[in-house]
C-alpha cells in the first residue's frame, strides 16, 4: 500500500505528533495572565486608597451592581469571535423588561409567566436579528442591529410611552437583592452561566464551529458547518441573555422604563475587547472576558469609593481599554500576540 510517489527509497513515511507539547513559555505568555495581573494590581491599589473597599459588604454589593450587563458578555464573546457585533442588546433589555412589566401590571399575567414571556421576547429579538443577518448577508450585523436597536427601543416606547412600570411582587426583588448563604444570587447565576458558556465555547462541537466560522466562514460552509444555523443560535443566545439582564435590572430597580440599559452595548463590547477577544474574529477566550468584567466592575467601584468624578471615570476606562489592546501590538507584547493566535 506504500504510494509510489517517488523513488521508494527516497520516500520517508512521516509520523506526526498528536499530543500538544506543553510549553511553559506559551503557558505563561497568555493574555489572561496579564488580565489577572491587572486585576490583582487593581485590587491592591483599591484596598490602599479606600478604607471601605474591602469592607464586609462592599465587594459583595459592588458585584451585585455591575454583574447585570455582564450576562450579555457571554454571547457577545461568541458574536465577536464570529466577526459580528450586536449593538441592539441594550434595546433588547429594555423591550423585554417593558413587556414583562406591562404583562404583569396591566394585563394581570402572573409574574412567573411574565418572566417566561420576557425570556421569549428576548430570544425573539435575537432571532429576528439572526434571521435578518443570515437572510440578507449583504447587510452585515452592524447594519441590521443598528436598525433593530432603534426599532426595539421604539417598540418599548410604544408600549409604555414614557411611564415606568413597577409594583412587582415581593419575591421578585430577590433576583436583584437576594443572597444565598451570603453570596449574592446574581453572582451565583452569573457563575453558573460563566461555566456553561465556557464549556459551550471551548468543549463542544458548537463552540469549535464558532471559531471555525470566525476564522473562515466560507471554508466552514464548505466543511458542512451549518453556518446560518450557528449564527442564528448565537444571536438568539444574545437576546436571551439580554432578557436575563432585563430581569435582574428590573428586580434591582423595582420597576422599569423604556429607557433602561442605554448604551449597555458599548459597555459590553468594551468588556469583551478588554478580555482579549478581537473584533477581527476567530480569537480569544471566554475566561478573558469574564476577568475583564471584574476588572472594569471593580475599577469603577474603587474609583467611586474615592468619589472620582464620573467624567474622569470615563477617561480612565477609555485609557484602560486603549492600553490593554495596544500592549499586544507593541514590541514588548509580541510574545503575547503570538501565543494568542493559536488559542481557541
Amino acid at each position: 500500500m506504500e504510494p509510489r510517489v517517488v523513488n521508494q527509497n527516497e520516500y520517508v513515511q512521516r509520523t506526526l505528533v498528536n499530543k500538544e507539547a506543553f510549553s511553559l513559555k506559551k503557558f505563561f505568555f497568555q493574555w489572561e495572565w496579564l488580565l489577572i495581573l491587572v486585576f490583582i494590581v487593581l485590587m491592591v491599589i483599591n484596598t490602599n486608597i479606600s478604607p471601605y473597599f474591602l469592607s464586609a459588604t462592599g465587594l459583595r454589593d459592588a458585584t451585585m451592581i455591575f454583574l447585570d450587563k455582564a450576562f450579555i458578555v457571554f454571547p457577545m464573546v461568541m458574536i465577536m469571535i464570529l466577526r459580528d457585533i450586536d449593538i441592539s442588546v441594550g434595546s433588547t433589555v429594555a423591550l423585554s423588561a417593558v413587556v414583562m412589566a406591562t404583562l404583569y401590571n396591566r394585563l394581570g399575567v402572573p409574574m412567573e409567566m411574565a418572566i417566561v414571556i420576557c425570556l421569549m421576547v428576548g430570544a425573539l429579538c435575537g432571532l429576528i436579528n439572526g434571521l435578518l443577518i443570515v437572510k440578507f448577508k449583504e447587510l452585515s450585523a452592524v447594519i441590521v442591529t443598528l436598525g433593530t436597536m432603534i426599532l426595539y427601543r421604539g417598540i418599548a416606547y410604544v408600549i409604555l410611552e414614557d411611564q415606568a412600570s413597577g409594583n412587582f411582587p415581593e419575591w421578585f426583588s430577590f433576583f436583584g437583592w437576594g443572597s444565598v448563604a451570603g453570596i449574592p444570587f446574581i453572582l451565583i447565576v452569573f457563575t453558573i452561566f460563566a461555566i456553561a458558556f465556557t464549556l459551550l465555547l471551548h468543549k463542544t462541537t458548537f463552540g469549535r464551529q464558532i471559531y471555525a466560522m470566525g476564522n473562515n466562514d466560507t471554508a466552514s460552509r464548505f466543511s458542512g458547518v451549518q453556518v446560518d444555523k450557528v449564527k442564528v443560535i448565537v444571536f438568539v443566545l444574545a437576546g436571551l441573555m439580554a432578557a436575563i439582564t432585563a430581569i435582574f435590572l428590573a428586580s434591582r430597580m423595582g420597576s422599569t422604563r423604556p429607557n433602561v440599559a442605554m448604551m449597555y452595548e458599548l459597555d459590553v463590547i468594551a468588556m469583551v475587547a478588554l478580555g482579549g477577544i478581537s473584533t477581527a474574529g476567530g480569537k480569544g477566550r471566554m475566561i478573558g472576558a469574564i476577568i475583564a468584567v471584574f476588572i472594569i466592575g471593580y475599577l469603577q467601584y474603587g474609583l467611586g469609593l474615592i468619589n472620582i468624578p464620573s467624567q474622569t471615570m470615563l477617561v480612565i476606562v477609555g485609557i484602560l481599554l486603549i492600553v490593554s489592546v495596544a500592549i499586544p501590538k507593541l514590541n514588548v507584547g509580541t510574545k503575547f500576540k503570538k501565543t494568542e493566535k493559536r488559542k481557541t
Binding site: G147, L151, G154, I155, V158, D162, T279, S310, A326
Partner: protein
C-alpha cells in the same frame, strides 16, 4: 481572445450597447433609495400640506447640513473598512472649547473660531489615526475608547458649565443664521465641502487611494500605496469635519453643553448605511450619502409634522431604516438576477 473571445458572439456589440444602458441605470444603486424618498415625501405631504413649503424645506435642509457633513467623513472611514464612534464626543469637545474661547474673546473673528474648532477636531482625529494606523488597533475599539475619553474631557474642560447664548458674541452666533449668496451658511458650508470632497474623491490620487486601501489592502501595499498615510488622512478629515461641525452646532443652537451630540455617531452611521456605503469597505458614493442624510433629515422633520405620537417616532424610524436597507438589497438582488437571466447558456 482568451476566455471572452469564446463567449463573444457576432451580435454582441449591438446587444452590449442596449444592456449597458440598463446596466448604467442599475449602477445607480441609490435608485431604490431615491424612489423611497419620493414616496415618503408624497405620503407626508398628504398628511400635512405644509411639508413641501419653502420655509419647511429650508428648515429641513439647514437641520440636515451638519448630519450630511459628518456622514461624508464617515463614508471615507467606512470605505477604508473602519468606523468612528467618537465623532459625537469630538464634536462636543471642539464645540465646548470654541465656545469658551469666544466667550472670553468676544472680538474673535468667526473664521478664527471655525479654524480653531477644526484644529481641535484634527488633533482628535490624529490621535485616533495614530491608534488605528500605527498601532493597528481595530477602529471600533480605538474609537469606542476615544469616545469615552473625549466626552470625559469635554465635561472636564467645561467644568460642568454650559456656555450660553448671551456669552457668545453676535458675530459667532450668526455663523449659523447668516446667509452667503442667498443660502444659509450651514447649507453653504455643506455644499462647499461636498464639492471639494467630490473633487478630492474622484479626481485626486489620494482620493482614489482611499478606495484602493478599502477595496483590497494587500494589493494596495504592492501598488506602493502608503496605507498608514491614507488611514491617517481619513481619520484626520473625519476629526476636522467633526471639529467644524462642533462650531456650527454650537453656533446654530447658541449653547454649548457637555452632552452635546451624544449618540449622534449612530445617526451618522445610519445615514451612510442608508446611502449604500458598505461596512466591508471599498465602496460608497457621495450621492448615496447625501440621500441617506436627507432621508434621516426628512424623518426628523416629518414625524413631528404628521402629528405622530412621540412614543411611536422611534419605532417608526427604526422600521424605516430597516425597510429601506432591506428594499435596497432586494432591488440589488433583482438587478443581479436579471443579469443572470440575460446570460447565454
Amino acid at each position: 481572445m482568451m476566455a471572452e473571445s469564446a463567449l463573444v458572439n457576432p451580435s454582441m456589440d449591438e446587444k452590449e450597447r442596449k444592456t449597458s444602458k440598463l446596466a448604467a441605470i442599475s449602477k445607480f444603486r441609490e435608485l431604490g433609495l431615491l424612489a423611497f424618498i419620493i414616496l415618503l415625501c408624497i405620503f407626508v405631504q398628504t398628511r400635512n400640506s405644509s411639508f413641501l413649503t419653502v420655509g419647511n424645506l429650508t428648515d429641513l435642509i439647514t437641520n440636515t447640513a451638519i448630519l450630511s457633513i459628518l456622514a461624508l467623513g464617515m463614508m471615507l472611514i467606512l470605505i477604508t473598512r473602519g468606523i468612528d464612534l467618537s465623532i459625537g464626543s469630538t464634536l462636543a469637545l471642539s464645540g465646548m472649547i470654541v465656545a469658551q474661547v469666544v466667550s472670553v474673546n468676544q472680538g474673535l473673528p468667526p473664521i478664527v473660531a471655525i479654524l480653531l474648532g477644526i484644529s481641535v477636531g484634527i488633533v482628535c482625529g490624529v490621535m485616533i489615526g495614530f491608534l488605528v494606523s500605527k498601532l493597528g488597533i481595530l477602529p471600533i475599539i480605538a474609537t469606542l475608547a476615544m469616545m469615552n475619553i473625549f466626552r470625559g474631557l469635554t465635561f472636564t474642560v467645561s467644568d460642568g458649565q454650559w456656555v450660553s447664548s448671551y456669552q457668545m458674541p453676535e458675530r459667532f452666533v450668526s455663523i449659523a443664521t447668516s446667509q452667503i449668496l442667498g443660502v444659509n451658511t450651514l447649507v453653504f458650508v455643506a455644499i462647499i465641502i461636498y464639492m471639494v470632497a467630490y473633487y478630492f474623491i474622484n479626481h485626486t490620487t489620494t482620493g482614489r487611494q482611499i478606495y484602493a486601501v478599502g477595496s483590497n489592502p494587500a494589493s494596495a501595499k504592492v501598488s506602493g500605496i502608503n496605507e498608514t498615510k491614507i488611514l491617517m488622512i481619513v481619520y484626520m478629515i473625519m476629526g476636522g469635519l467633526s471639529g467644524l461641525c462642533g462650531v456650527l452646532w454650537v453656533s446654530k443652537f447658541a449653547s454649548a453643553q457637555g452632552d452635546t451630540a451624544s449618540g449622534f455617531e449612530l445617526t451618522v452611521i445610519a445615514a451612510c448605511i442608508l446611502g449604500g456605503v458598505s461596512i466591508a469597505g471599498g465602496s460608497g458614493k457621495i450621492s448615496g450619502v447625501i440621500l441617506g442624510a436627507i432621508l434621516l433629515g426628512i424623518l426628523n422633520n416629518a414625524l413631528p409634522l404628521m402629528n405622530v405620537s412621540p412614543f411611536w417616532q422611534m419605532a417608526i424610524q427604526g422600521s424605516i431604516i430597516l425597510i429601506a436597507v432591506v428594499i435596497n438589497t432586494i432591488v440589488k438582488r433583482g438587478v443581479d438576477r436579471n443579469n443572470l437571466l440575460r446570460r447565454r447558456i
